[in-house]
Symmetry: C2
Subunit: 221 residues, 2 copies
DNA sequence: GAAATGTTTAACAAGATTGTCAAACCAAAG
DNA sequence: CTTTGGTTTGACAATCTTGTTAAACATTTC
């Protein structure tokens, strides 16, 4: 075998780029082959059909995402809040390395319902692991009154929403909210904001015997 | 003209459904025509090309979104926090009526860069109006120390992230986080969580002379 | 070096998809 | 009734896209 690994790998890389930026329907096997520098017949030789190539790419992507998130929350022994912050930080930095990934996943699970089963199954395992890993620590800290009582599901969804949406909306909001700012600087600033939001979400609800403004009923009409 | 309004409208409705659920590339003019109950030649008679039909649909959608958001924040005279809460509530309910809209916009602005200019221009006007409408009120309340000092851009992006992402991720997370819960109940619960997050984000940073847990350095390693 | 096995290509086939067109249709105006 | 104008259709053309195939090519093995 000459450098078959390279050819196959080249096709996979090109396919991932094409699929993630254009979606399944927008991606053309001819474009992928061209981008990989091979004839499109070779693409079919290696991956049979567009569908199979897509599945392979999707599988690879989810595996990497899964590994990255599990690893992100694996810092053990530290208090819940530290582990959470560290996990969110790594999650965000992972997205910074794969900025098109959220858009791709979101689109494909919505547009192509056949995929949902696969994605959901693997996400299920992933969420299960993260939950199991954090739940006990969270309860412990909540029991001590150090953090507010929140459902872990809500809290994590809050965090993922904040982290992912910056990348989803970037093309529209960047010039709008921060014209002229370096992309990386913009994203890192958002990371800090996101962490602040989550931290504050966990501030215990004060007993409200003080006249503190946060206890006033500003929010109640 | 027999009921031409109805035919044209039927095509537009079918096109919006098809485009928003499948994206530009996934949508087929034949499917749209079929769904609208007309021949596909008629579709071309009214809208010339798929591209033009798409532009029309996109334009309509953005107009409705724009109108809804401007209206959502138009409650004048109330304190900033009330206006914000009311705006976010209405924004969320609008999305509840158009659950595929965030996915559609996010995908299209990412996948088809030609569209960005149009979307960005209109979003620019929209954000400008909302900003102008809220900024002064926000400063006033911050000056009184009733709310934390945050950039309005960050705060609104936080809120939109939280509101939109539930809909984006719904197909995957629903069964995972809340199995068996009615969709509407699930979404409304999320709305409350989102409002809580934003409220807490605005809690003024305490002076930290008390031993309150929120002042401890739990978050600093 | 010849056979066997795996890789690569050019050419082709089948089908889908967008878009056009001339003719049929229909409603209203003269 | 006939003309006129916009509507609607069936049939067609052009192109794009996926997928196949037979043959050329390379590499290993005996």
């Amino acid at each position: 075998m000459k450098e078959t690994e390279n050819r196959e790998q080249a096709i996979l890389r090109a396919a991932e780029r094409e699929f993630t930026t254009r979606g399944f329907d927008g991606a053309k096997t001819t474009s992928i082959a061209e981008a990989a520098g091979v004839t499109h017949a070779l693409l079919h030789y290696y991956f049979r059909t567009k569908e199979k190539l897509y599945e392979r790419v999707l599988d690879d992507i989810i595996s990497r995402l899964e590994a990255s998130i599990v690893e992100a929350f694996s810092v053990s022994g530290a208090p819940f809040t530290s582990r959470l912050e560290e996990g969110l930080r790594r999650h965000f930095l992972f997205l910074l390395d794969h900025p098109d990934l959220p858009r791709f996943l979101i689109h494909e699970i919505g547009a192509r319902s056949e995929r949902i089963a696969l994605v959901r199954a693997r996400m299920g395992r992933l969420v299960g692991r993260v939950f199991a890993s954090l739940q006990a620590d969270m309860e412990r800290q909540a029991a001590r009154g150090e953090i507010a009582r929140v459902s872990l599901a809500d809290l994590l969804l809050d965090a993922v929403s904040l982290n992912a949406f910056v990348f989803l909306s970037y093309p529209v909001i960047a010039q709008l909210l921060a014209p002229g700012v370096e992309p990386r600087a913009f994203f890192l600033a958002r990371l800090e904001e996101n962490l602040t939001v989550i931290r504050k979400r966990l501030i215990p609800d004060p007993p409200c015997e003080t006249a503190s403004p946060s206890c006033s009923s500003l929010w109640l009409p």
